[in-house]
């Protein structure tokens, strides 16, 4: 008599699960370590380049006036506890070239300052009239920068009362950097010089 086929052959193979406890232990150590090292706030740098000597080596068309005859805008922002003073052409008489932006709701009115700067940029400075190849004394490299009818067409001087906190200065620098024109971001006065209060 033939033997009956063994039941063992028909038994479904047992699924073998890997032992993940050591991996779990590793995770439990790694995650707190990474969490403690993680930066939950994203840091950035605000570059401040004090004025440096630059030498112009090429300036495009020959019909350009010599450097001395180019006008200066002399845009100055004075931050005081009670207002922001904006001055161009070194003007000190209240009018379109010298005006004050009072504080609004116990805070400086950066929106109005930005709008005023956009107006100055469009009305007084206008679009670039060419480009300049400039030797950067710091890096020793040549770079091309836009040329405006004013030699300081991208510069703003910021001065503040001695007690003004650093955060307020940063807000002023932010307001001067660029503006949004349609969908494009255009430079406003990105070169900032910090000066003594005047």
């Amino acid at each position: 008599m033939a033997f009956k086929p063994s039941d063992k052959k028909k038994r479904a193979p047992e699924s073998i699960e890997p032992n993940i406890t050591p991996i779990m232990n590793l995770m439990v150590v790694l995650i707190p370590m990474l969490l403690s090292a993680a930066r939950l706030t994203e840091l950035s740098l605000l570059e401040y380049l004090p004025p440096a000597e630059t030498s112009t080596t090429g300036s495009g068309a020959s019909s350009e006036p010599p450097e001395e005859s180019i006008e200066k805008l002399n845009l100055l922002i004075n931050i005081q506890p009670e207002n922001i003073q904006v001055s161009i052409y070194q003007s000190v008489d209240l009018g379109p070239n010298f005006f004050e932006i009072p504080i609004k709701s116990d805070a400086h009115d950066w929106e109005t300052l930005k709008d005023s700067l956009i107006l100055i940029k469009q009305r007084e400075v206008g679009e670039p009239v060419g480009t300049l190849s400039v030797m950067d004394e710091r890096s020793g490299e040549m770079k091309t920068i836009p040329k405006y009818r004013f030699s300081d067409g991208e510069e703003v001087s910021i001065a503040a009362d001695g007690g003004i906190p650093f955060q307020t200065i940063i807000r002023a620098m932010d307001a001067c950097k660029y503006y949004v024109d349609g969908k494009a971001m255009k430079p406003l006065f990105p070169i900032t010089l910090l000066k003594q209060f005047q």
Binding site: A38, L43, Y48, P165
Partner: protein, 162 residues
């Protein structure tokens, strides 16, 4: 007559309850990958000082490694995570005769000489400045940096979403 106690129930082996770690493993893996990614994008070059309240800005320049100092309402401090040394104290900062801070100037010149010797001086400095530091202190720090030939100054700010 009372029934005899069930033999089947008493002798039945108790089933062992096993904790399924699979879903927890999945979760841990996701957290681990997220943390590793955030570590690599931030670069870990600059760590905000626990002694300062950094200002907010819309600037988007990536942090880079350079000589770093801290400017707090206590004065100018060395960039240390624990017990930073005071380079220029409050007396030095508030003295109206100090246009340039002697303590900070000495520290910067020493560092410049050290980096000059190994050919790594590029005139770059990173300043972590408390948002409540006043403008007159800030100007003194900037003047001192310029005096010591550190001409590229980067302020560390917390990036603000626009």
């Amino acid at each position: 007559m009372a029934f005899a106690p069930s033999k089947g129930k008493k002798n039945r082996r108790k089933e062992e309850g096993t904790l399924s770690l699979n879903s927890m493993m999945d979760m841990m893996t996701i957290i681990l990958l997220f943390l590793l990614k955030s570590m690599s994008t931030s670069g870990g070059l600059i760590k905000p000082s626990p002694f300062l309240d950094l200002p907010y800005s819309i600037q988007e320049k990536m942090p880079k490694k350079a000589l770093a100092i801290l400017v707090s309402t206590r004065g100018v401090l060395e960039d240390m995570e624990v017990d930073p040394r005071i380079i220029s104290d409050q007396n030095e900062m508030t003295n109206p005769d100090n246009v340039v801070l002697p303590g900070l100037e000495k520290y910067l010149v020493e560092n410049k000489d050290l980096r000059d010797r190994i050919g790594q001086f590029r005139g770059e400095i990173t300043i972590q400045c408390d948002k409540n530091v006043t403008y007159d202190w800030l100007l003194k720090v900037i003047n001192t940096c310029g005096q010591a030939e550190y001409v590229t100054i980067d302020f560390v700010v917390i990036k603000e979403k626009t």
